[in-house]
Symmetry: C2
Subunit: 333 residues, 2 copies
């Protein structure tokens, strides 16, 4: 019997990331590392951009969702999956469920970007909207999952999800080896910590000694402050950012354990720096970055980490952005 | 002694494309084939997009330029290269010359997109601007090349340039084989015909029987009309299009010979269809397409070729576009 308590409380290990890579082979895209000589000159080092905006559903989230759902048996698949998400996890779960012929119900905030709601619906998922200020999405999702006996798939604090996102790190390590690049540091966006935790785990088994940093928007720097405090702290719920996918209130239990073990730190950027990074991704990389997807690039461009003479990898984690938001970033960036 | 007559008048053969691939290995990016399930559903077939906007300098032009210049001996390299171009060939030549430590002089129209002029200059090239309405760029370039004994590198009608662009076709064939995709047709943007000619040549040696189509903007459909007429015809010089890189007045001699031998036809699209394709590349592919880079995608989306149940490859050939032009396309597309 699957239920809302089915998510695994223990951190995944390196073998789980390798198993995820095998499950995703030929199903998720092996996204390229993109490089711009102009950007290299600008930072005085070498910058490799993991173009995860080119992933199925436009963000890395498909990896974790598929890795989790593909491990369910047929009876559990029939009961379906329920998820809550501001958008990218929603699309990832909806697409993974569709691929596995599972019913999917997604609880989304009513102010999520229209493109994310529309895309989630396009995968055949049922959408349940909620009010971000007055309702608790976890409660709504748990209620639906319990009523249906469906699998509740959390956005980040789940060993299977983390292992799936970790395949981004495996691909970085393998591509760097193929191009004979010695990587000094990897920086990836962080909300609840599933992506950065998975990447750090994957790199610990492939490039020991590489420094791994999270990147977060101002006002949602819970990982930076939690690492400093040695315990999970929460963001001010009144905070605002254009990074709609990075608004988790606090790191997960599993992801924070991974972060404490593996991360060198978390770099914090302003919305202005994010818009500027989106504009740079447009002009120098020809990649569409959503605000949340651009925070790691923003951290490097803003000088948050020493780049001179070093080889850095940033994960551009998604490209699901409304035209209006994008045009505004190009104007301001 | 190199001079303006140094360009080779004979078409390249398949072996020349393979030799170009060896020269470009590790220097040009092996760009990915990007796929969107939503786009596949929309066309009722399978669409693979060769993301050549991710190439060094933001377009495929680096391939041909580098393949040509890398074949010069050291004495010829020292005398430098001269090229005329609305922008992408300019950037390709400037970057290839910089890589080979050659001086480069680029003759550009004064109304070329600002980003293309700025980027060309950023590679260290000398820029000579001319008036598109009153001056003949070939004459200016030939005068400079003759005075300096420099190599004049034409934008398309040169066997070395065509062979270099043909590596796009080799990569398509190899990637399709790796993903076990049986390709029915390949469509690529066409101005003077260097890219489409090279691709058609490469595919003739790797996927015999595949149908290869050029794509052109309305008013600059000289390849379509030349194929129909059986001889090279010219565009009306008063024509206008947003596809600033596809305004060559007529096919080249070598490229037209390749086109007659290998092309199934040329598909013509409107500026409106191009803007719509740019918007689709933004929302579904997360790739920045410049107008000229989007004509092949536009041809498929506009129904210019049967897609139902077939596997098509379109080349998205470049992403060098001003922010204003891009924002306008997102509004209209």
């Amino acid at each position: 019997m699957t239920s809302s308590s089915a998510s695994e409380p223990r951190p995944p290990d390196f073998a789980a990331v390798e198993a995820a890579a095998a499950r995703l082979h030929g199903i998720a895209a092996a996204t390229p590392l993109v490089e711009s000589p102009a950007l290299n000159a600008r930072i005085g080092g070498r910058l490799l951009v993991k173009a995860e905006c080119l992933q199925r559903t436009g963000s890395f989230k498909f990896r974790g969702a598929y890795n989790a759902l593909a491990q369910l048996d047929l009876a559990a698949r029939k009961l379906g999956v329920v998820a809550y998400s501001s958008g990218n996890h929603a699309q990832g779960v909806a697409a993974a469920a569709a691929r596995l012929a599972m019913p999917a119900t997604i609880v989304m905030p009513s102010d999520a970007p229209a493109i994310k709601i529309a895309n989630t619906r396009s995968h055949g998922a049922e959408i349940v909207l909620y009010d971000r200020q007055r309702e608790v999405r976890e409660e709504i999702a748990e209620r639906i999952a319990a009523a249906r006996g469906a699998q509740l798939l959390p956005p980040f604090d789940d060993a299977r999800v983390i292992a799936g996102q970790g395949t981004v790190g495996l691909e970085i390590a393998r591509a760097a080896q193929a191009m004979d690049a010695a990587i000094d540091a990897v920086i990836a966006p962080c909300s609840g910590g599933g992506l950065i935790g998975g990447i750090a785990l994957a790199l610990s088994g492939t490039i020991p000694g590489v420094r791994v940093y999270a990147a977060e928007p101002q006002g949602f720097d819970d990982m930076a402050r939690s690492l400093a405090a040695g315990e999970r702290v929460r963001n001010d719920p009144a905070g605002q950012t254009i990074c709609d996918a990075l608004m988790a209130p606090t790191p997960g239990v599993i992801t924070f354990a991974l972060a404490r073990r593996f991360l060198a730190g978390s770099l914090v950027v302003s919305d202005r720096e994010v818009e500027s990074a989106m504009a740079v991704a447009f002009s120098e990389l020809k990649l569409v970055a959503e605000p949340s997807g651009a925070v790691a690039l923003a951290a490097v461009l803003a000088g948050g980490i020493e780049a001179k003479g070093r080889t850095l990898v940033v994960v551009l984690s998604g490209g699901n952005v409304d035209r209006e938001t994008y045009a505004a970033a190009l104007r301001c960036g």
